[in-house]
């Protein structure tokens, strides 16, 4: 293979080297999947409508998913569960809104920059205080900081209470790259700018988690004491990762504000939003890089769209999520390799399908037996 060719031989198989990643290689199947993903991502504004999906909703899903990618740096590597990441998403969103509403800044890129700066600073400050804690203490502290920020915004005239702030100066959409756009043009430019930045940020995240720093975070996640013994400055590294994690949330929140053009505390800063971001990471597969992104799209879509089909719309959402958690415990993306491996085995040996049917039948039979026993005990008591 040529030195400049992206293809190389590894263990007898041809793999594709992904540019700018210093070592990320994909099999042919993974490459095909990644290309499909890129085509879908770039074609989304035009493809979504064709299949009856809302592009705007998918866009918001990607943004929350991006916040979940940031959160996943902590969850997957340092094994810290943060219940407060809405603080950075909302912090970024409110930075945009405050700059537009109070300081009349109308350039979208400047607004986005302010979101990243404010959200990251917020993460740096909170991270400084929580970096030394683990487990439930870490979770509760992050939740407490989130709750304090929410309450401050909710009750402050400066932030216009729960009514929130508009991201329009003089009633107009912000400019992007110094130009005023039509509504559609604004949405498209914002979307494609975001997608390009998002891909860059994903590549950077990949490089980060595969760097010595990323390995150190893994070590911290496995055993803090041992990590300290081998010379890793644990608290400092957790602080850094918390700040970087917050940066991703702040970026996503900033774009969210530019996309929605009105920021309110409940959809951006409420502690339940932190829970949703965490759940997005788990749902999509927190052992993967892009899983949280998929989780974000799926959860946002379910939360926003099912109410148009079901009166008690929380019920079907709950059932779908339960099914994913029960049957795909590694999340959607995390379960894909197992799923494809299982599929390949069944294609090679269709007899396994018979075993599957027998397993399901046996599972149902056992469940029914248990249910019957429970009902009998409830009605007739234990005899």
């Amino acid at each position: 293979m040529s030195r400049f060719s992206p293809l190389e031989e590894r263990d007898g198989k041809t793999v594709v080297r992904v540019p700018f990643t210093r070592g990320l290689t994909l099999t042919s199947g993974q490459t095909a999947l990644a290309l499909v993903g890129l085509v879908v991502l770039f074609g989304l504004p035009f493809l979504a409508g064709l299949v009856g999906l809302s592009w705007g909703r998918l866009f918001r899903g990607l943004l929350f998913g991006m916040a979940a990618v940031g959160l996943n740096l902590l969850l997957r590597h340092t094994e810290l569960v943060s219940f407060g990441h809405a603080a950075f998403f909302g912090g970024g969103a409110y930075a945009v809104a405050v700059m537009a509403a109070h300081l009349e800044v109308s350039e979208g890129i400047l607004l986005l920059l302010s979101a990243v700066i404010v959200g990251t600073l917020l993460a740096a400050v909170i991270g400084y205080f929580v970096a030394g804690y683990v487990d439930i203490y870490f979770a509760l502290l992050t939740l407490a900081f989130n709750a304090v920020i929410f309450a401050t915004v909710f009750r402050s005239a400066f932030f216009n209470y729960n009514d929130g702030l508009a991201v329009r100066v003089g009633g107009d959409n912000p400019t992007l790259f110094g130009l005023a756009w039509t509504d559609l043009g604004y949405d498209l430019v914002l979307y494609y700018t975001t997608i390009v930045l998002m891909i860059v940020m994903l590549v950077l995240m990949w490089r980060l988690i595969n760097s010595p720093f990323g390995r150190a975070l893994d070590a911290i996640g496995q055993d803090r004491t041992r990590a300290r013994f081998i010379g890793i400055p644990v608290e400092r590294y957790v602080w850094y990762s918390f700040t970087i994690s917050g940066l991703y949330g702040a970026f996503a929140g900033g774009v969210y504000a530019l996309q929605r053009l009105h920021v309110q505390p409940e959809p951006t800063l409420y502690v339940f939003v932190s829970g949703e971001i965490l759940f997005m990471a788990i749902l999509g597969g927190f052992t993967t890089l892009v899983g949280p992104l998929i989780g974000g799209v799926l959860l946002v879509y379910l939360l926003e769209a099912t109410r148009f089909s079901f009166y008690y719309y929380h019920a079907p959402i709950g059932i779908i999520l339960l099914a994913i958690v029960l049957f795909m415990p590694k999340g959607i993306m995390g379960s894909l390799p197992d799923f494809f491996a299982g599929l390949r085995r069944r294609v090679a040996d269709p007899g396994r399908l018979g075993d599957d049917v027998r397993s399901i039948r046996s599972m149902v039979r056992q469940s029914l037996t248990r249910a019957t026993t429970t009902v009998r005990i409830l009605v007739f008591g234990v005899k």
Binding site: A157, N162, Q264, F308
Partner: protein
């Protein structure tokens, strides 16, 4: 300052032609005003108009779950009742309405976008003022009319979206200046300006509560020169009001103002009675206490408490003398088994405003109006409901009489009522078009 009651002989003496003319003379306008018996044998030229055959697709977003459902479900009942009446009377120019109702949640803007994508010709809601504020620019960008049921923050059409920047967004329910000022005027009516030296406020700690407190304070201070001795803002959905009640008991203000609603209102009354708060104040005025009419109990309505009921109280005018209100009350009891509150009228009136304007537009056009034509007709449009006469003003804010009365109990209904109702005309409790409320109050 109150509006005089209509004399029995006046209502009884109004002939059929006069009433038909008064309510707009069309089938739907008459039906929604609650006067369907007047429609018999009436020829209607609108039948010749060229209108599409398919039904009107409409959407309503309101709170269907959680604490705000106390208000939101009433709005749903109201909108459904108006739609049922329209469809029972052959629709608008022959077009029936299909109404989709969905949970408002925190995604009102996204819900509106989905409604538009789904091809809705008109949308109604939301309840929340913040949600409403987020929606207005999008409504004007999409160009599909929305008539908000509530979302009553004052500044929305006064400052943030003045008429020259707003074409398609309308609001039916009175804005919050009207009810907060009605509360101030009511306090003066009941106690007399000279008897009010101090006042206190316990209001929910979010935009609505802060807004109501500011307006009431401005109003009562202008009317009486009273001094504020306490202002408390419990969290929305709190489970304890005791610190605020103790503060009121300690200060013993002449008037206590509270815009608490739903569970907060019942909790305040419960804990207030338990702590003897009503022995330490001369009067409590609450613009939306009656929104909890179906959740209050007899013991809670005791004491010097006067409640507002926004632009509708079901028994004003008296249902014995005003058959449209009597018929509506009976229909709501039969259909839903509840006492209709002002939020019922929010839903009913929003649909009625749009439907009567649409029918009005079809008549001269001879066809179904475009969105911009309908918006033009809706601006300045006057129409009747069983609550009375309503005007959709040039700022897209609808104006109706505000109601206030003494909170009481009806054994017959086994529900709260308000008695000795005072009715305030819009010009008494809201600024003239183009003026900002707080500046206008400052000039009293």
């Amino acid at each position: 300052m109150t509006t005089e009651r209509t004399d029995d002989s006046m209502a009884g003496g109004m002939d059929r032609r006069t009433i038909l003319k008064a309510v707009g003379g069309s089938a739907i306008a008459v039906a929604l005003a609650g006067c369907t018996e007047l429609l018999e044998d009436e020829d209607d030229a609108i039948e010749d108009a060229e209108v599409p055959d398919e039904p009107i697709e409409a959407g309503l977003q309101t709170f269907l779950e959680g604490a705000p459902a106390v208000l939101g479900v009433q709005a749903q009942y109201g909108a459904e009742t108006a739609v049922r009446r329209i469809n029972d009377n052959d629709g608008i120019a022959g077009r029936q309405i299909d109404l989709d109702v969905i949970e408002e949640g925190e995604e009102a803007l996204e819900n509106y976008q989905q409604f538009v994508n789904d091809g809705k010709e008109v949308t109604f809601g939301p309840i929340s003022s913040g949600n409403h504020e987020a929606m207005v620019p999008e409504i004007n960008a999409q160009g599909v009319i929305n008539v908000a049921t509530d979302g009553t923050v004052t500044t929305l059409y006064e400052e943030d979206h003045p008429p020259d920047e707003n074409t398609y967004s309308f609001r039916f329910q009175n804005h919050d200046v009207m009810e907060a000022l009605a509360a101030a005027v009511e306090a003066v009516e009941v106690l007399g300006a000279d008897e009010i030296d101090t006042y206190a406020g316990i209001n929910p700690g979010y935009a609505f509560g802060f807004d109501e407190h500011d307006v009431f304070s401005a109003g009562i201070e202008q009317l009486t020169g009273a001094e504020e001795v306490y202002d408390g803002f419990p969290d929305l959905g709190t489970d304890d009001m005791s610190t605020h009640i103790e503060a009121v008991n300690s200060e013993e203000p002449d008037v206590l103002f509270s815009s608490c609603w739903g569970g907060d209102a019942t909790l305040l009354l419960e804990q207030g009675h338990g702590a003897g708060m009503f022995d330490n104040i001369e009067l409590m005025v609450g613009p939306v206490l009656y929104g909890s009419a179906n959740d209050l109990s007899e013991g809670l309505v005791d004491g010097p408490i006067r409640s507002g009921s926004r632009n509708f109280y079901w028994d004003e005018p008296d249902t014995d003398r005003w058959s449209p209100a009597a018929a509506l009350f009976e229909e709501v009891q039969d259909e839903y088994g509840v006492v209709p509150t002002a939020h019922f009228m929010s839903g009913y009136g929003a649909v009625t405003a749009w439907a009567t304007a649409a029918e009005k537009a079809v008549r001269p056009l001879g066809r179904w109006p475009e969105q911009d034509e309908l918006a033009e007709v809706l601006t300045g449009h006057g129409f009747h409901t069983p609550a009375g006469y309503h005007t959709m003003a040039n700022d897209h804010q609808c104006y109706s009489n505000a109601h206030f009365g003494e909170l009481g109990w009806s054994d017959d209904l086994d529900a709260a009522v308000i008695e000795n109702v005072n009715v305030y005309a819009p010009e008494e409790v809201s600024p003239p078009q183009g003026e900002v409320s707080l500046e206008w109050i400052g000039g009293w």
